[in-house]
Symmetry: C2
Subunit: 559 residues, 2 copies
């Protein structure tokens, strides 16, 4: 996917401290941020994006590493803020193009190692496990990992120090006054950073439209205890697999109400083993497997399931389809809890899953009815505090649709940032002297993982695929002799035309035969003319009969 000889036209001045986002600014996902200084590069995060229905048939999106791959010898390292897929998921796909050490805290490193394993990269990719709070000297950068709170263990804010000043890159974060995993954010650390001077703050915009601070994970835990107490029979609860704090909350709520906990779905088992390997969930006995849970009375069991976003192959989706073992048949006395938010784009899939679940008569509880979820991102209140502590000269909003980025910029100015600046993917932002300026652009783009291939996501490819979905596709086969006389019957295949009646196809074949025999003899000898005649016959017929414009290909075989 990378053209080796492609040179970047834009040359970064040696003494410029630059920030170049290659993904993760004006969208959620594909986090991939570059910091460049004195010919060296530091990368923060390397994440996936999820295309939703926007890119038909594509499961996963990657940021395009073309620009930084040209500088791979000068990369001091890839620094991972935390273990969510939109921050680590692209590592195994893009590592070949980076070939630099990866720095991550223990839990995050466990998740990364799983991925490297899958891609046979263990031993080749250098994974450096560092402690939370670690300080690394990688000239011309000094990088400090500052623990924050978020919806996964070991989230970190990075302080990136250079001779030009200190940049704070928040990653995903929030203030949690009583975190169930990890510690509260150390306010003194933040204040000290502020006193020493912060050149730029690169900060999460995900929740910028929430004004007030939300409830905490402890509040969710208390609420779950009440719900578990009054549930008449089985409890089935779905949440994001990486939310180890939530898993602990569910365990505690189950424990306090005399219930045991079973995990369903591969992602939960993977997180369970990564979390335990990194020293979390020490006081929680092993979770039950589905088989082990079979013998537990129905009012004594809680199932934690994948499927909070309506994913078709998740445990919850299988339960909704009654596609598990017979003992599991969902019933009227069961309670299903969605302990998660709706990720934009998944509304219909989730509603469809809930509809299928409700056919059993079960009770569904979401965050609309009860406190069963809190966000891992900061509201305006929290962000204002962060700005007060850090007093950044420059504010660079990231993580959010443009509406969010613009709102964050406005508020950052209100909160005292001298310069709040909006950058887009590919912009080269010079930060020297606290006077930010976009001094150029580098190639930027989006790659799609499509089956086993990684392909560049040009607009054309997507347009063609959309056209195929809307208009269908038709292939016509015609065999002729050198003079252009038909040998055998023409054959037609069509895809994506909902209602293809065999008699329609027969009519079309007769039409093709007639139009070929009506052609002048000299024209029939020319492949291009013959093909075009057949193509037009098919196209007119489909448009008249179906009101559609399909993609058409002709297999003309001349013998």
């Amino acid at each position: 996917m990378i053209e080796e000889n492609q040179e970047t036209e834009f040359i970064i001045p040696h003494d410029s401290l630059v920030f170049i986002p290659l993904g993760g600014v004006t969208e959620i996902g594909q986090n991939f941020f570059l910091y460049g200084y004195k010919g060296k590069w530091l990368i923060v995060d390397c994440g996936l994006g999820f295309p939703g229905d926007h890119f038909p048939g594509v499961e996963v999106l990657l940021p395009d590493p073309t620009f930084i791959a040209q500088h791979k010898k000068d990369i001091v390292g890839l620094f991972i803020t935390h273990g969510h897929e939109d921050h680590i998921g692209a590592i195994p796909y893009l590592w070949q193009d980076l070939q630099c050490p990866i720095y991550a805290t223990p839990f995050t490193a466990e998740l990364i190692e799983d991925k490297l394993n899958e891609f046979n990269l263990v031993g080749r990719a250098q994974l450096e496990v560092i402690e939370q709070g670690a300080l690394l000297e990688l000239p011309p950068f000094e990088i400090e990992f500052i623990p924050v709170n978020h919806s996964i263990p070991e989230p970190n804010m990075l302080a990136i120090r250079t001779k030009e000043g200190t940049i704070i890159h928040t990653g995903d974060w929030k203030f949690d006054s009583s975190p169930v995993i990890g510690e509260k954010i150390n306010i003194d650390t933040l204040k000290e950073l502020g006193r020493n001077g912060v050149l730029a703050l690169v900060c999460d915009s995900t929740n910028i439209f929430s004004e007030k601070e939300e409830k905490t994970e402890q509040d969710v835990r208390s609420s779950l205890i009440e719900i578990f107490k009054s549930a008449p029979s089985r409890i089935i609860i779905t949440c994001f697999a990486s939310n180890v704090g939530r898993i602990e909350s569910i365990y505690q709520a189950a424990h306090e109400t005399g219930k045991q906990v079973c995990l369903m779905g591969r992602s939960f088992w993977r997180i369970d083993s990564a979390a335990r390997a990194a020293g979390y969930m020490k006081n929680i006995p092993p979770f039950l497997t589905e088989e082990e849970a079979e013998n537990i009375p129905k009012n004594k069991i809680v199932y934690i399931c994948t499927g909070s976003q309506g994913e078709p192959y998740s445990a919850l989706s299988k339960i909704a389809s009654q596609n598990t073992n017979e003992l599991f048949m969902l019933g009227e006395s069961d309670t299903v809890i969605f302990s998660s938010r709706v990720i934009p784009g998944n509304e219909l899939a989730i509603a469809a899953l809930q509809k299928r679940l409700l056919m059993s008569g079960c009770t569904i509880i979401t965050d609309r009815e009860k406190l069963v979820h809190v966000s891992g991102h900061p509201s305006q209140d929290s962000m204002k505090k962060l700005y007060e502590y850090l007093k950044p000269q420059i504010a660079i909003p990231v993580h959010g649709e443009p509406m969010y980025i613009i709102e964050h910029k406005k508020l950052a100015e209100k909160w005292g940032a001298k310069n709040a600046i909006i950058v887009e993917e590919g912009d080269v932002l010079e930060l020297n002297d606290g006077d930010p300026e976009i001094i150029g652009e580098v190639p930027v783009g989006c790659l799609a993982v499509d089956g086993k291939k990684i392909v560049s996501l040009g607009a054309d490819v997507i347009k063609k695929r959309r056209k195929m979905i809307e208009g269908g596709s038709v292939v016509g086969t015609v065999v002729v002799n050198q003079k252009g006389d038909l040998l055998g019957e023409p054959q037609i295949s069509s895809f994506g035309l909902l209602d293809t009646d065999p008699s329609d196809l027969e009519t079309l074949i007769q039409l093709i035969k007639k139009n070929i025999s009506d052609m002048d003899n000299s024209l029939k000898e020319d492949d291009a003319t013959l093909k075009e005649t057949i193509r037009l016959t098919i196209r007119r017929f489909i448009t008249e009969q179906f009101g559609k414009k399909p993609l058409i290909e002709i297999h003309l075989v001349r013998i």
Copy 2:
């Protein structure tokens, strides 16, 4: 689409008063409700559904009229509550199957006539224009149109009176304390209905999760005036075309701030003419066309545009693509207002449109930042009042995902309904004696308008189309003689495999040739065996190379 000889197995008892929803209960859209009594049928509404990305390539969904089409001679009429697409949009498609008079108030009738016109049904379909508040005697039913408030002119609640009792069918409604079009709901009328006894209330659940009453359209108008006052240059505002009250509010806000108004998009011109034909917008001078607006100074013009849901061919989408005339180039001083809600499923399309708009530097205002929209549906507060006034014995929640229906049922019980009952599409609900019982089921389904065809939406068809999107499709053509020896080169076409490298195809063709020549002579003489060999060759190759499982068809021509 209807099998003429298909008989309903279930016979409805002659003296039963039954309610049979064929659409519009557990989903938004496709409203199509039957009331049956003494061998006669009354239909309420006949609307479209929008499939979103859930049914790839399908633009519009229809309820399946199979059951009622068998009784078309006994239909007393189709009664339309109001003119929204999800209440009238299926009329032209299904009228053939109903062939009954259509009753609608003047504005709604204008919209219906437009549709009949498009389908050459004017003069054939009998459209009866009735006044709001009209009372119709169509034994064994008496039907009264009771004006309510909603986000379109002339919304009506129906009182359907029979010897067994009175049913109130709300349609879409809300209480508006100061409606800009039409009158406030007459509370005395509702109370009197209650005093005379309401057997059943069939009621809108759309906003059941909103507790408090929202602001009114008058409040939106005041808010728009403030926004218009401070806008530095052009104002571009998008809303639902049928929301004539909103169009009036925009006009008034423009008028009070010294601006003129231009309409952009076909739907707005259609509504404009329907509204004026029915006597609305009398005091509003004709809106400007795009050409007329060109000469107006930028700070004196407001454009009302289609596109609030991110529709790709809407006026707003064209503006975002700078795909209008050159004078229109969107710029930093322009203000774009989304005066509408996000319909679930459209989140990503709207976000993508806003992203494109923001590239011009314009300011976007949505209902997140300012009061620019109010809902046309009732909150819990309003519904509670309606239940208090009507005191229905039976409550039948409709219009909403199952979560909404279930919540409505719970609240209806709290609000005093003796029996709150959940029905699904196709259920036959007997209402006699205030003792509701589901006594049977009739055929029910969903039809898709796919280009020019109307097709039944079986799970298989959709499954196949999804498979094609995910796995792509391949057609291979092979010409052989009677012995099975190849004549000419095999040909391959593939669709939806993102990255089809010509050298991959060449490898595949060589593989097919080799595998055919490796076959035993006797096997090559059998078409089925030869085809299967080719199919498997293609399938294995695509799975290995692309990691995909495409739909495969083989054109084998034997000469």
